[in-house]
């Protein structure tokens, strides 16, 4: 409970609130798109590099179980999401698969907020978490896009969509950073690190300001999408988080590591997935999947979700 309150007094969360506020008071504040792009390039590379450097210190065996758990989650979560939306809500195939792709993938920023939440508590998640993030981003989208085919419904230019998924800028920079960090190693990374390490939290602060603004402009669609989607956007993340907590526990992650894994599993993509879904499932409505992932799940996770998942982790694993 108090960890929820303390989470609300964290600058990055407050920046997100400020971004939302700017839309409600109709401020003329505009966040330059190139700044937004620059910060995402920066954050993705920073995560990747840091992760890669850590990985270069990790023995493969240690990394094996967590990786397996993560991949498993990447295959299961889109299916659970799909089943719920398709057979409970009875949404059409395109929209159901589209949503599944979003909840099968991840949100980088949610991942980062989870990490600084743990660091605030003085706990360090495993150094290879960014690599797990990379592992979790892709499979979910692919699995989800396969569903319509599996049930023999043709998908517009799937090949193009898959290419988009695996070469999308976010995954490309993340993996690229991991590889560079891995090759360079701690010493070589030294001179570059001040830029990528000390500026990190500040960049995240600005990024959440922008996301607050984008999220706010999503709120107007909440009515349009209806109550079930709102429920879906809160319930499914919790479900996936619980799933991830068990998997992470099985894989032998630390409490911090499990909480972060739970958070990233529960998070919904709003960059990689939308791009791929727009190409492969043009009939799926962006106002449904973007409102769910960006308008509901994202704000829920960074405010209430993360403290909740931490609480559940302690409950289940402790």
């Amino acid at each position: 409970m108090e960890s929820i309150l303390s989470n609300f007094s964290s600058p990055v969360v407050l920046a997100f609130v400020l971004g939302i506020a700017s839309k409600f008071v109709k401020s003329d504040l505009e966040f330059p798109r190139p700044l937004y792009q620059s910060i995402s390039i920066y954050l993705l590379l920073a995560i990747g590099l840091k992760g890669g450097v850590e990985l270069s210190k990790t023995t493969f065996s240690v990394f094996l179980l967590p990786a397996t758990a993560t991949l498993a989650l990447g295959i299961i979560t889109p299916l659970t999401a799909f089943v719920i939306i398709r057979y409970i809500r009875k949404l059409d195939m395109s929209n159901s698969a589209g949503l599944a792709a979003h909840y099968g993938s991840v949100s980088m920023v949610t991942f980062l907020v989870a990490i600084s939440f743990m660091e605030d508590k003085g706990m360090q998640p495993e150094g290879y978490m960014p690599t797990l993030l990379a592992l979790l981003e892709i499979p979910g989208i692919i699995v989800a896009l396969m569903i319509p085919i599996a049930v023999s419904k043709n998908v517009a230019s799937l090949g193009k969509a898959l290419h988009e998924v695996v070469t999308g800028s976010s995954i490309f920079l993340l993996i690229g950073g991991v590889i560079i960090g891995y090759i360079a190693g701690p010493e070589k990374f030294g001179p570059v690190s001040p830029f990528f390490v000390s500026g990190f939290q500040g960049a995240l602060f600005l990024f959440l300001l922008e996301l607050g603004m984008t999220t706010a402009s999503r709120f107007r669609d909440l009515k349009k999408v209806g109550a079930f989607i709102i429920f879906f956007g809160v319930f499914v993340p919790i479900l996936h988080a619980v799933l991830a907590i068990y998997f992470g526990y099985w894989a032998g992650l630390s409490t911090a590591g499990i909480t972060v894994l739970a958070t990233m599993t529960s998070s919904a993509s709003y960059i990689a997935a939308p791009a791929a879904v727009r190409i492969a499932l043009p009939k799926a409505s962006p106002s449904i999947y973007l409102t769910a992932s960006l308008g509901i799940t994202f704000p829920f996770n960074i405010t209430l979700g993360i403290p909740l998942y931490y609480y559940l982790t302690v409950l289940i694993t402790g």
Binding site: R33, P274, R278, P286, L294
Partner: protein, 100 residues
């Protein structure tokens, strides 16, 4: 200064269709094209591209026969599912023969 009467085909669409549309244009013997970043609102209202920030405006100066073929191809491929608007204008082009 002899000006040649040609068609300026304008296509405004979601950003991610850019490359495909350019292919279509080139296939229909356009000698060039010009891209402008734009934003906008239309009948389909909010869309993914809104998140990606912008639409793209593609203009190409071509003969009216190419114009017809381009228009035809665009409307066959994209009008059903995607956010697109396309129109043509008559323009008088310097050294117009270069673009036929």
């Amino acid at each position: 200064m002899e000006l040649v009467e040609l068609q300026n085909v304008t296509i405004i669409s979601e950003r991610f269709l850019k490359d495909d549309i350019i292919d279509i244009i080139k296939k229909n013997s356009a000698k060039g094209y010009t891209l402008t970043d734009v934003s906008g609102e239309g009948s389909r209202g909010i869309r993914a591209s809104e998140w990606e920030g912008k639409n793209v405006k593609i203009e190409t100066v071509v003969s009216s026969s190419s114009a017809d073929r381009i228009i035809q191809a665009i409307s066959d491929h994209y009008f059903e599912n995607y956010a697109v608007i396309a129109y043509t204008q008559t323009v008088n082009v310097v050294r117009g023969d270069k673009y036929i």
